[in-house]
């Protein structure tokens, strides 16, 4: 997904202005002329300058880029779908892992990813279970990371 530089620049300019607005409400330190707003304020000013330069760069030139160009992968349903599945798996983990527990969530995430990447169907579930249990043993038993049990709490080991 390639944006024209003018669009990226406009987004960055908006960010810089938002930061400048935000730092203007930071308190001053009594008796000192340099407060918490000085450094981010300076950075935001520089960012705004760069963003404006980027906007000009995007609008100039004979062979101007399109406003938004989709890379080849976004036109291939297979690749776009897999991209969305990967991001979706991370979101899914963030949302349900605490309640559902690490083991079940991880197995589901791995199954989805294996399916997306066209692993042989009969391998998907066994490999997902084995990988999950190995990772769980390394981190839960070996490194003592308290991975959540979730609904599997009654049968924890």
């Amino acid at each position: 997904m390639k944006f024209n530089d003018a669009i990226s620049g406009a987004a960055l300019l908006a960010l810089a202005l938002a930061i400048l607005f935000n730092v203007s409400s930071f308190p001053n330190i009594p008796g000192q002329n340099i407060g918490p707003s000085a450094f981010p304020g300076l950075l935001a000013l520089l960012l705004a300058g760069c963003a404006i330069a980027l906007i000009f760069k995007g609008l100039r030139g004979q062979n101007r880029q399109p406003w938004l160009a989709f890379g080849a992968w976004m036109k291939s349903w297979f690749h776009l779908r897999n991209f969305l599945i990967t991001v979706g798996c991370l979101l899914f983990y963030i949302l349900v892992s605490t309640g559902l527990g690490f083991i079940l969530t991880a197995i589901l995430v791995l199954c989805a990813m294996f399916w997306a990447l066209e692993v042989k169907p009969k391998l998907i579930v066994p490999v997902a279970v084995v990988v999950t249990l190995v990772v769980h043993t390394i981190f839960y038993k070996g490194l003592r990371v308290p991975l959540p049990w979730g609904i599997m709490l009654p049968i924890q080991w």
């Binding site: 997904m1 390639k2 944006f3 960055l12 930061i19 730092v23 930071f26 308190p27 330190i29 000192q32 002329n33 340099i34 407060g35 918490p36 000085a38 450094f39 981010p40 950075l43 935001a44 520089l46 960012l47 760069c50 963003a51 330069a53 980027l54 760069k57 890379g71 080849a72 992968w73 690749h79 897999n82 991209f83 990967t86 991001v87 798996c89 991370l90 979101l91 983990y93 963030i94 892992s97 605490t98 991880a106 995430v109 791995l110 990813m113 294996f114 990447l117 066209e118 692993v119 391998l123 490999v127 990988v131 999950t132 990772v135 981190f139 490194l143 003592r144 990371v145 308290p146 991975l147």
Partner: protein, 502 residues
């Protein structure tokens, strides 16, 4: 370096646990480097959550060993598949593939291995002799000098080797702004926390790096549309035959490559990839037979193979002495040092010299065991290259998830890897380099602290930044780098030639 400290360092390294860690991370690095799409930086990012649970010396040893191995083993798929295993091998991938087609895969891989190890040792020796001396000087530095040092480093990261300086600057500014998030600023005022408790202490470095270097690489793999590559040769013979002859034939390119690599490593922001591109170009320029380059000629591999490994050690010099990373790998390593209370800076040579000498020893050890282990990896390379990538990549994703969770035992880490993974992916698609952002995040706090301290010391008079002797020279250096492109453009204009690319 006193005898007692040396013995202490030897005791720290030659401990069964540390040796085991070195051995395992060596195998890990060789494996990761050998698989196209998994980089040395990614190897580091994946290791960090595990090193989190180790004492300082093995933690650093794991990173040092894994990266040295990965940079060598990136040569293997270059020679066999024509795909560089890590970006640091890209400069001479075509060259070594041509050698394979001519039936000289042994020599291409042997040269990669032997001269990587020699280059690595060269960089290590420079580091051993140079960094204590530099630390002595650095002890005299005040906040003014540190401020300029950080600015100099960041300027280098933006102005050297980026195709668009404007986009690199933006990337750097975004990194510096991320470093502003949270309570930890000289004023102790919570900034940009958006009301989230998790952001009060700032953005955690490790999940961010896992996101930027591991998750974004996974996304790139998933969206990669290149057809699968074919292995060019099944049999690789004795890779060590003819190496002595090469050593005698190309001593000068070897030294030149190692020296250039070390210097590029020291320079913040540019690491092994830059070192190998630049020394490959240099090798061609100074070669007696430049016409042979690109047709399967080993000379460039000798020089740039040595350069990319020597740059690894070079990058550690500013990292240890000033806390300013020389490349993205040391940027991650600095994060680890802080977590281990081994804060980098000149004082570390006074307070924990044994730890520093232990790191030096690990570098030597890693470059020595690279020879037998690298030989072994080449033997099984065709099998590693056939590892089912569609099983491996989801497993790495799960490692990223668990690793980022483990830092704070909170799912917030997973939120961070998702955010920074997608952000890095989109930025790179739009031509923004990611390395300056990482340097910005790592150095932002240091830059602000030294800036604010200096301003308070001088009662708000910015002239003091230029009047102290060392600070003045550092300032001059920074302005030369900053004004270089403008100057070059002006010179071109004055000579009446049309400016290129304006």
């Amino acid at each position: 370096m006193t005898y007692a400290v040396m013995m202490q360092a030897i005791g720290l390294v030659f401990d069964p646990y540390v040796l085991l860690v070195i051995f395992c991370s060596a195998l890990f690095g060789l494996f990761v480097g050998c698989i196209p799409g998994l980089t040395a930086t990614m190897a580091t990012a994946l290791l960090v959550p595990i090193t989190f649970f180790m004492p300082p010396v093995p933690a650093v040893a794991a990173i040092v060993t894994a990266t040295a191995m990965a940079i060598f083993s990136g040569d293997i798929p270059g020679a066999l598949l024509r795909i560089p295993g890590t970006p640091a091998s890209a400069a001479y991938t075509d060259e070594s593939y041509q050698m394979t087609l001519k039936g000289q895969a042994e020599m291409a891989l042997g040269a990669g291995l032997v001269f990587s190890a020699i280059g690595g040792l060269f960089g290590t020796i420079v580091m051993i002799f140079f960094s204590p001396a530099l630390a002595d000087v650095a002890l005299k530095f005040s906040s003014f000098e540190y401020f300029w040092l950080v600015v100099l480093g960041l300027a280098g990261a933006v102005f050297i080797g980026n195709s668009s300086i404007l986009k690199a600057s933006i990337s750097l500014l975004l990194g510096l702004l991320i470093a502003c998030i949270g309570l930890e600023n000289p004023a102790g005022h919570p900034r940009f926390t958006m009301g989230l408790e998790q952001l009060m202490s700032g953005v955690e470095l490790i999940p961010m790096m896992v996101g930027m270097f591991a998750v974004s690489e996974l996304l790139r793999y998933i969206t990669n549309m290149d057809p699968p590559a074919i292995i060019a040769t099944e049999k690789v013979g004795n890779i060590f035959s003819g190496m002595w002859g090469l050593l005698k034939k190309y001593p000068w390119p070897l030294v030149r490559g190692s020296a250039l690599g070390t210097i590029i490593g020291i320079q913040p922001g540019s690491g092994a990839d830059m070192a190998s591109w630049m020394s490959y170009a240099m090798s061609k320029k100074f070669s007696k037979e430049p016409e042979k380059f690109g047709t399967g000629h080993v000379e460039g591999i000798v020089e740039s193979g040595a350069a990319n490994n020597s740059s690894l050690a070079g990058a550690w010099i500013p990292a240890i002495v000033f806390g300013i990373p020389g490349d993205s790998i040391t940027a991650i390593a600095i994060g680890v040092l802080y977590l281990k209370n081994m804060n980098p800076g000149p004082m570390i040579f006074v307070n924990n010299p044994e730890n520093i000498y232990a790191i030096f020893l690990v570098f030597i050890l890693a470059n020595i065991i690279m020879i037998p282990l690298g030989w072994l990896t080449v033997r099984v390379a065709t099998k590693i290259l056939r590892v089912a990538r569609n099983l491996l990549m989801p497993t790495i994703l799960l490692f990223c998830i668990v690793g980022s969770f483990a830092i704070n035992n909170s799912v917030w880490g997973v939120v961070l890897i998702l955010f920074f993974g997608v952000a890095a992916f989109v930025l790179e698609e739009n031509g923004f380099p990611v390395a300056p952002a990482i340097l910005g995040v790592v150095l932002g706090t240091m830059m602000e602290e030294n800036f604010v301290t200096s301003m308070i010391k001088s009662d708000g008079d910015p002239l003091v930044f230029f009047t102290r002797p060392i600070a003045m020279w550092l300032a001059a250096g920074t302005f030369i780098i900053l004004l270089w492109p403008v100057g070059a453009w002006l010179v071109q204009r004055l000579r009446g030639k049309p400016a290129v690319g304006a």
